[in-house]
């Protein structure tokens, strides 16, 4: 296929197919490095902290948190939305960028999808743990029972149950279907019998038959077509948790697209945070190039700006509405007792990404890494601002309160971060972090060697 000469190569170095296989499978071979063990230790410790916090919550009750009669949700749902948001990047990259034919996605989609799945698992933990009666959490499923009682299909939390589980299931399938050919490669490259047997099992008997590839491509596309609206629906439904309510600062119609855009924004930031480290640690600089980073940074500017416009729209509309509760809610965000959170959010989400307008900055890995961290922080605070500052001062001033987190809530958050990194570290040992087959399919058109060959 013809590719315009003005495009930068997506894969650097003069690679051939076997080199690609070798490079990408390298991190899975041998014993893990001491950095890997260090990472696992820290992440595992954090996860244990989370386990302790979970015990405290379930055994003693939600009272171990800082929530109160007015602020029913705080860190729990903040973390939930934050993780769900992060869990949007993978599917966005694989589905929507595939539909829009952005070839640069091939280097990052595998790890982004894995990250998505782990993030969704972390996200799903919070709606569970936030229940006052976790042990009766199964009430939320519409199963036949002697009381002949079903569930409330009006409730956005119920929609969440469907949306998150569907999203997780479909993403898992999408990811695994994409992984099957690569597991085949791993199987065929495996030296010892056990690995061969395990990966043989996991590869579903993949051979690379042309008929299979043909179907594989078809279902990949259809799955992408299904996943694209799905990815929108998930954060839309998460946004409904807030937007369907009557609480000023929650009830606003812009939430669905704005949440989706924010989710992609935060997801890309997390992908960048992870990949900038991963490419270095796993020596994949040739595959995940500065070009990839730049492309992602462009998406960050785009989504960040949409989020910024949404902030301003909300703010303007709060004033324009003439509704005193709305007006106050936004005034309180910016100048009330939680103004610091608001301005952290504004700085991190609206101002810092604008630095990416400068090519120097968006092609600088260190700068990108720092800004990606900023965005992660900013997006966490965005949810905190929405959840807590809207609730703490709503309609009746008599019930206005303040919120302060407790060590248990910190523990739950740190715990999911621990879980996240534990699983990600396991993932990079167990599965190829880059989609080998997809890289090979664009190697000719977008590899450095070939491109030079074409034009010399």
């Amino acid at each position: 296929m013809y590719v315009s000469p003005i495009r930068e190569p997506l894969i650097k170095g003069n690679k051939d197919y076997s080199q690609v296989t070798k490079d990408i499978l390298a991190p899975m071979a041998g014993t893990p490095s001491k950095y890997w063990y260090m990472g696992m230790t820290i992440a595992g410790a954090a996860a244990l902290f989370g386990a302790w916090a979970s015990f405290m919550t379930v055994f003693y009750g939600i009272g171990t948190w800082g929530t109160n009669k007015t602020i029913g949700w705080a860190w729990d749902i903040t973390n939930f939305v934050w993780w769900v948001g992060i869990g949007h990047a993978g599917t966005f990259i694989s589905a929507i960028l595939l539909l829009f034919r952005q070839k640069w996605r091939t280097s990052i989609n595998r790890s982004a999808e894995a990250m998505t799945l782990i993030a969704i698992a972390c996200a799903g933990f919070f709606p569970l743990i936030h229940m006052g009666r976790l042990l009766l959490g199964f009430f939320i499923f519409p199963y036949p029972n002697t009381r002949a009682l079903w569930v409330n299909f009006n409730s956005p939390l119920l929609w969440d149950v469907f949306a998150i589980s569907t999203y997780f299931a479909v993403s898992l399938v999408f990811w695994y279907v994409g992984l099957i050919p690569d597991i085949g490669t791993v199987r065929d490259k495996a030296k010892d019998k056990i690995r061969k047997a395990i990966y043989g099992f996991l590869s579903f008997g993949w051979t690379g038959s042309a008929k299979h590839w043909s179907r594989h491509e078809t279902i990949s596309l259809i799955l992408a077509g299904l996943a694209a609206p799905l990815v929108l629906s998930v954060h839309t439904i998460v946004s409904f948790d807030f937007a369907t309510s009557v609480i000023p600062g929650w009830h606003t119609t812009i939430f669905p697209p704005y949440f989706v855009s924010g989710a992609i924004f935060s997801g890309f930031a997390m992908v960048l945070t992870l990949l900038i480290v991963t490419r270095k640690a796993l020596h994949l600089e040739d595959y995940i190039t500065v070009n990839h980073v730049e492309s992602m940074n462009k998406i960050i500017i785009l989504t960040g700006s949409i989020v910024g416009i949404a902030y301003l729209t909300e703010f303007f509309m709060a004033w324009y509405s003439g509704v005193e509760y709305e007006t106050y809610a936004f005034f309180n965000r910016a100048f009330g007792p939680y103004a610091w959170a608001y301005w952290i959010m504004m700085t991190c989400n609206v101002i810092t990404p604008q630095l990416f307008w400068f090519k120097k900055i968006r092609t600088n890995l260190v700068a990108t890494f720092i800004i990606s961290i900023f965005v992660n922080i900013g997006m966490w605070f965005e949810r905190f601002v929405i959840v807590v500052t809207s609730l703490h001062r709503d309609y009746l001033p008599s019930s206005w309160t303040m919120y302060k987190p407790t060590i248990v809530e910190v523990g739950l958050y740190v715990g999911t971060l621990g879980l996240f990194f534990t699983l990600f570290l396991l993932f990079i040992r167990v599965f190829p972090v880059i989609a080998i087959a997809e890289i090979k399919s664009v190697l000719k058109s977008s590899g450095e060697h070939q491109k030079h060959a074409d034009h010399e």
Binding site: V246, H251, P257, G322
Partner: protein
């Protein structure tokens, strides 16, 4: 390539002029037939906003693909550029409408004598001087950027210099940023402020998404006309397929925003918001549901399969339905607030729309005829030609 440029066929000009005349007659009928200033103003505003929105989408289409560096759209880039030529025309017509009493007829908030508490609160934004300034800024920005983008694109076509390519991207980025803000605020100014008490944060994006669908539909229609004229032969099924996917995808996106806005207001059922849908469902019920059928059900069902997106046989009727559908959408946006229960679709509405469509065609085709239809020196043109898709 043979289709470097073309001269406007007389037949097309005549048809277009005929359409404009129909429009003028309807307007006269409306005026002398005693349909009322409000209804006439509302019709003029509606059509003006509609075709202006479509023109802006033409430019947006070009700009977005420029910064995304996507290859395939280069083949139809000229159509988008030509659509943007309507912007200044719309600006002039709209300015005339507002100057000649349209504001008073349309906007409650201009009635300085009976303002209630909420309108007084909003007066810092909704006042005639500030409104006029914003009007001027919007059109100035759009016209200048549209002109520069068209000019740069034309220069790039001369020899494919990478300098112009980069410049085009820079201008496109500038336009997108400007348009991102102004498309939202202009929709508040011109449309949302008709129901001056009502508000919705999603509104701007909802209007934009509607325009996006109509813009793609019009692009498809124009492409079809050009193809019927034997032009645009470099555009193959793959390109049509992509436009079809746009029409399909954006229709769903529009429906998504429609649903988001409706559902949230329905769910919370707060009177200050529900009043909007209350009037539309109770007084404009047929239109309200027709809107969904034309703009969601039709494209969703008819464009679901791969083949339908590749065949003009299906795609063109759907594009026309969607084009009418969004006109209906705009009708139910404007009329309940501006005209009320006396609103209806009659000779004035149909005739005037035909008139605007004729004018639009005239302007767009004139612009098309000025530049080569095939941007063959565009750096991505070759990529566009080799464009192939599997799905």
């Amino acid at each position: 390539m043979e289709n470097q440029s073309f001269t406007l066929p007389k037949k097309l000009i005549n048809v277009a002029i005929g359409m404009v005349i129909i429009g003028l007659i309807s307007l006269a009928y409306g005026y002398f037939g005693g349909l009322g200033g409000e209804r006439i103003a509302a019709n003029l505003l509606m059509n003006n906003v509609y075709f202006l929105g479509i023109a802006l989408i033409g430019l947006f289409f070009v700009a977005v693909h420029a910064i995304a560096e996507s290859g395939w759209q280069v083949s139809v880039q000229r159509i988008g550029e030509a659509m943007s030529a309507f912007i200044p025309v719309a600006g002039v017509l709209m300015a005339l409408l507002f100057i000649l009493g349209g504001m008073h007829a349309l906007y409650e908030w201009t009635h300085a004598d009976h303002m209630d508490a909420i309108l007084l609160k909003k007066a810092a934004y909704l006042n005639i001087p500030f409104f006029s300034i914003r009007f001027a800024v919007y059109f100035a920005g759009w016209i200048v950027l549209a002109h520069l983008i068209r000019k740069t694109s034309a220069k790039l076509d001369l020899n494919g210099e990478i300098f112009y390519f980069n410049r085009l991207r820079m201008l496109s980025a500038l336009f997108i940023v400007f348009y991102a803000v102004t498309s939202v605020t202009s929709s508040w100014d011109w449309l949302m402020s008709i129901d001056a008490h009502w508000f919705s944060t999603l509104y701007g994006w909802y209007i934009f998404s509607g325009m996006l669908v109509s813009g793609v539909a019009v692009l498809i229609i124009i492409l079809f006309i050009l193809k019927r004229m034997g032009l645009m032969t470099h555009v193959n099924d793959e390109h049509v397929h992509d436009l079809g996917k746009y029409l399909f995808g954006f229709s769903i996106f529009w429906a998504y925003l429609w649903f988001s806005q409706y559902m949230l207001i329905w769910y919370a059922n707060i009177p200050e918001e529900t009043v909007y849908f209350y009037t539309r469902i109770n007084q404009f019920g047929t239109i309200f549901y027709l809107n969904l059928v034309l703009n969601l059900v039709v494209p969703l069902l008819l464009l679901m399969t791969r083949n339908s997106k590749r065949m003009f046989l299906v795609l063109l009727p759907v594009a026309i339905v969607v084009f009418i559908g969004h006109w209906i959408d705009l009708y139910q946006i404007v009329m309940p607030g501006a005209v009320g229960e006396e609103a209806g679709i009659g000779l004035l509405e149909i005739g005037l729309t035909i008139g605007y469509a004729g004018l639009f065609l005239l302007v767009v085709f004139r612009s098309l005829s000025k530049h080569p239809l095939v941007p063959k020196n565009h750096p991505l043109y070759k990529e566009s030609l080799e464009y192939h898709t599997n799905y």
